[in-house]
């Protein structure tokens, strides 16, 4: 037992409780009280059987210890000394990182855009922070319930900001590429796009024509459905109309629901900016044609879209079309272009429900597979990043011996594989049948259109900057073009 009183040493009660705790945590210590000798603390000490002798004063420090043996007791007294003189960390907190979008945005209106890629069920809560703060938001996440999308977009409309998405993979804002987007020269054409790879194809062709884009505003694939009613599309059209850098507006989409199409037409008629539409359908199956029409309308010469000739492999007799795509809209366009020539094309994203391929990617006959379909990207990166699934399908096709012409897309730009040709070349260079590649990108892209095109051509692929041109070339090889 050690009980001592010390004068001229003051420490506040918190510090002393902390010292008691530190020393009390030692194995050999049975009881400890380090406290100023106030009546309350003396009472506590008495209760522990550790009363000091003499006449303690409240300004004296009481050190009272009981330990298992003398050695432990001596060590404990030393530990009290150490704890009393220990220096604490000084004050300065590392910044606490923001856990919500709202807190991260703060009051700084210089940050006009939020990008959200959290899991779909939680995306709207984050997106509403942006809308409430008067900022636009790009929601890359998919799996957002449609009623939440509608509510979010209505709130955004009222706040005068834009919601791009959900499931918006592509946008360009003042030259900044968001998600999967290309390095496109600045220009007078503003795109409103419900389709990601469609917007990429169009913006890349505009770049190659020397025209360029002002902005590419994505809307999410469901925006032009009857349920959503084109809320983001209409707001994006008005935004581009008010933008000084935008002289033309082009809408890139699948066919809107009829009532939504009417609304879009009405709104477009009110714009001061010239509006045109590239809505992909059986009647207008060709994004390249839409771009060419726009160029002619602008009085710009339509260039010869870049190509590279591949190996002169003979088309096997009875060859079928195998379209292995990473871009959903590009797959649609290929089917729309091919259908009149080939008849039925089966697909996991078919033009007609009865042509659904399910998961039978090795099925015989004319087949177009969209490897970027949501059903195939659950728990796996998009094929623009991870080519594994598509390479397996190519190997499977080669092994099957089915006579075929292989049509593929390769999409460049931000977000995509840094060297997609590098991954494809080993898979295609030894194939016996023709390979046709739609290479969507620009010279300015990190991967560089020509570098990728040359590598693919050297491996035997016929390369086209236009997906519809690539598709028609493949049909020519099959001998089915009209």
């Amino acid at each position: 037992m050690h009980v001592s009183l010390r004068s001229g040493v003051y420490a506040d009660s918190v510090k002393l409780m902390q010292v008691s705790k530190t020393v009390g945590a030692r194995d050999g210590v049975v009881a400890v009280l380090v406290a100023m000798a106030t009546p309350l603390n003396l009472e506590l000490a008495a209760g522990m059987g550790l009363s000091p002798e003499g006449d303690p004063k409240p300004d004296q420090l009481l050190i009272a210890l009981r330990a298992t043996d003398d050695a432990e007791l001596a060590a404990a007294v030393t530990a009290v000394e150490a704890a009393l003189t220990a220096r604490e960390e000084r004050g300065s907190a590392d910044a606490i990182p923001p856990r919500t979008l709202g807190f991260a945005m703060g009051e700084d209106q210089d940050v006009p855009l939020a990008v959200i890629s959290v899991p779909g069920p939680y995306a709207v809560a984050e997106a509403m922070d942006a809308v409430a703060a008067g900022r636009s938001v790009l929601v890359f996440s998919d799996g957002v319930p449609v009623e939440h999308e509608v509510a979010l977009k209505q709130a955004a409309h009222e706040a005068g900001v834009l919601v791009m998405g959900p499931d918006c993979g592509t946008a360009i804002v003042s030259g900044v590429a968001l998600g999967f987007a290309n390095v496109v020269r600045p220009g007078p054409v503003g795109l409103v796009a419900a389709s990601g790879t469609g917007a990429q194809q169009v913006s890349c062709l505009l770049d190659m024509a020397g025209v360029g884009v002002s902005h590419v505003l994505g809307t999410g694939g469901r925006d032009l459905s009857a349920a959503v009613g084109g809320l983001a599309t209409l707001d994006a059209l008005r935004m581009l109309d008010a933008d000084d850098a935008t002289e033309r507006v082009l809408l890139v989409s699948k066919p809107p629901a009829p009532e939504v199409a009417a609304e879009v037409t009405r709104t477009a008629a009110e714009l001061g900016t010239v509006f045109s539409s590239a809505a992909l359908s059986a009647d207008s199956p060709d994004l390249t044609a839409a771009v060419e029409a726009l160029l002619r309308d602008m009085g710009t010469e339509v260039p010869a879209w870049p190509t590279r000739a591949g190996a002169d492999r003979p088309t096997p007799a009875g060859a079928v079309l195998k379209g292995f795509y990473s871009g959903g809209t590009l797959a649609d366009e290929a089917m729309l272009v091919a259908a009149p020539a080939l008849g039925d094309v089966r697909s996991n994203t078919p033009l007609k429900p009865e042509l659904d391929l399910g998961a039978e990617f090795g099925a015989t006959g004319h087949v177009v597979v969209d490897f970027g379909d949501d059903a195939l990207t659950v728990g796996r990166a998009h094929p623009m990043i991870d080519p594994t699934l598509r390479l397996e399908a190519v190997a499977g096709l080669a092994a099957s011996g089915e006579p075929a012409v292989l049509l593929m897309d390769v999409v460049l730009g931000y977000g995509a594989d840094p060297d997609p040709a590098g991954a494809l070349v080993p898979a295609i260079r030894d194939l016996a049948f023709p390979v046709v590649v739609a290479l969507v990108g620009t010279e300015g892209d990190p991967q560089g259109w020509s570098r990728q095109a040359d590598a693919l051509a050297a491996a035997g692929a016929h390369v086209f900057a236009s997906n519809s041109a690539a598709t028609r070339f493949a049909l020519d090889l099959i001998g089915a073009s009209k």
Partner: protein
């Protein structure tokens, strides 16, 4: 609204890193959100609340009412007068409870109050009386009152009367008994009862005369604001506040027509109790939170309170409804030989200070307090920084010097708590779990997440019904 197309945008990003990386590669300024999947509330309920068009305005109204409230000390009166308590009724802290569910210190305090009121002559008789349902029990919060720890308030006890000068609303708290073996910590021995009688017979009337004699009522909100400049967070550290109160009241106390010895004893009692101010701070915070009332669509917390068994919260959007769950046990430092096994679960209405945005929320103003959990000064700053992320606004009247005089994080938002996963930080005393023990330590505690889970579900349900 900021114009998206006016130039190369700076971006805030929540989610996978590749997007931020790609933007930085283009030279874009990116702020990353350290997003975590919420563990409180379903995704559907959180989205429902996020999308509720009433929420922003309702929360703005709620927190503005808090900020607009002022508290002045206008009177000291017995609870029987001021709360209209008559017959055998005892108020207690936290959500409603019964004798059967009451914890040790709560039982001890209730027994002590029966002895003090003369409803029973012995602790055994008091226990029997309470167990037989002979005393009505109700929450302080249901009577515009708050009480620290057990918060037991009986009809004869004298109450501080705090008034909001702008609208005349009032809130009340009993008088603080000091430290050690005291009723609010569950002690009921003879010294506890003797002290309560002295407070009733001597101190109450002297304080009443003193408070009534002041030319201007004491501005308690102003004292709270000064405390934050002086190292108090006004929950677990009230030293500066207690001294300021003594300074403000002592001239009037000395002038009261009462025996000199009584006046000296009152001054000695106040001066010897560094938590004396707590019972003035709490009803001031209560006054501010009561100003909120019921506001459909608001997700702001109006009450955090514990009764030693359960933690209860209430929100502006759900009004008087309590969301309760078993209370956590505080973590901290212990007096003398006491240890964690001696501590009762969280108890007291004093979390009204955190509800109001100070106490644990202003830990940065009182670095001395963080050491209760063996923490550091940076921990104190970090705690307050986190609380900014779960609250609606900064209170310009309550400033934290070390944070550049930033206002206290005020108005706990249930939705933000759920989304961040950060629970409110409360500083608290610890009562012994055995009735009669008294205080065993002090430390830090958080509400159980289950309270917020229930609140999220109820708010979302109300939202769906209201918007249908």
């Amino acid at each position: 609204m900021s114009n998206l197309l006016s130039g190369r945008p700076a971006v805030v990003a929540a989610g996978v890193d590749v997007f931020s990386d790609a933007l930085r590669a283009q030279g874009v300024a990116v702020t990353d959100v350290e997003w975590r999947p919420p563990t409180i509330g379903s995704a559907d309920d959180l989205t429902q609340l996020a999308l509720d068009p009433r929420r922003a305005a309702a929360n703005r109204v709620a927190v503005e009412r808090v900020l607009a409230s002022r508290s002045t000390l206008t009177d000291v009166r017995p609870a029987s007068d001021v709360l209209g308590l008559s017959g055998r009724i005892l108020l207690h802290s936290g959500p409603p409870l019964t004798w059967e569910t009451a914890s040790g210190p709560m039982r001890g305090a209730l027994m002590g109050a029966c002895l003090f009121e003369g409803w029973a002559d012995t602790p055994e008789a008091a226990e029997q009386l309470l167990a037989s349902g002979g005393v009505e029990l109700d929450s302080c919060h249901h009577h515009r009152a708050v009480g620290p720890m057990a918060g037991v308030t009986s009809p004869s006890m004298w109450m501080w009367c705090l008034t909001d000068p702008t609208d005349g609303r009032q809130a009340f708290s009993n008088l603080n008994e000091g430290l050690g073996k005291v009723l609010r910590m569950g002690a009921y021995g003879p010294e506890v009862i003797t002290r309560l009688h002295w407070m009733t017979d001597v101190m109450g009337p002297i304080l009443q005369a003193a408070v009534r004699s002041r030319p201007e009522p004491l501005d308690v909100t102003g004292v709270l604001a000064q405390m934050l400049q002086m190292g108090d967070e006004a929950h677990n550290r009230n030293r500066a506040g207690s001294l300021m109160t003594l300074r403000e009241l002592s001239p009037a106390i000395v002038a009261v027509d009462a025996p000199k010895d009584d006046i000296a004893e009152v001054l000695r009692f106040i001066g010897g109790n560094e938590h004396f101010f707590l019972n003035l701070g709490m009803p001031s915070a209560k006054l501010a939170m009561d100003a909120v009332g019921s506001i459909p669509g608001s997700t702001m917390v109006t009450t955090l309170a514990r009764n030693g068994t359960e933690f209860g919260i209430r929100t502006a959007g759900t009004g008087d409804r309590w969301f309760t769950a078993p209370a956590n046990t505080p973590v901290g430092l212990f007096l003398g030989d006491y240890g964690p096994e001696d501590a009762n679960p969280d108890i007291g209405d004093s979390a009204i200070m955190e509800t109001y945005g100070i106490g644990g929320f202003c830990m940065a103003a009182a670095p001395a307090i963080v050491r209760f959990v063996g923490g550091t000064v940076p921990d104190a700053l970090a705690t307050t920084e986190r609380m900014y992320q779960i609250t609606l606004q900064e209170n310009p009247a309550m400033q934290v010097p070390i944070l550049g005089f930033r206002g206290a994080p005020t108005g706990i938002d249930v939705l933000s708590v759920a989304r961040t996963g950060w629970l409110p930080q409360i500083n608290t005393g610890m009562a012994g779990r055995v009735a009669g023990t008294g205080q065993v330590g002090a430390g830090l505690v958080q509400p159980p997440a289950a309270c917020f889970e229930q609140a999220v579900a109820a708010l979302a349900e109300e939202s769906r019904a209201a918007l249908a």
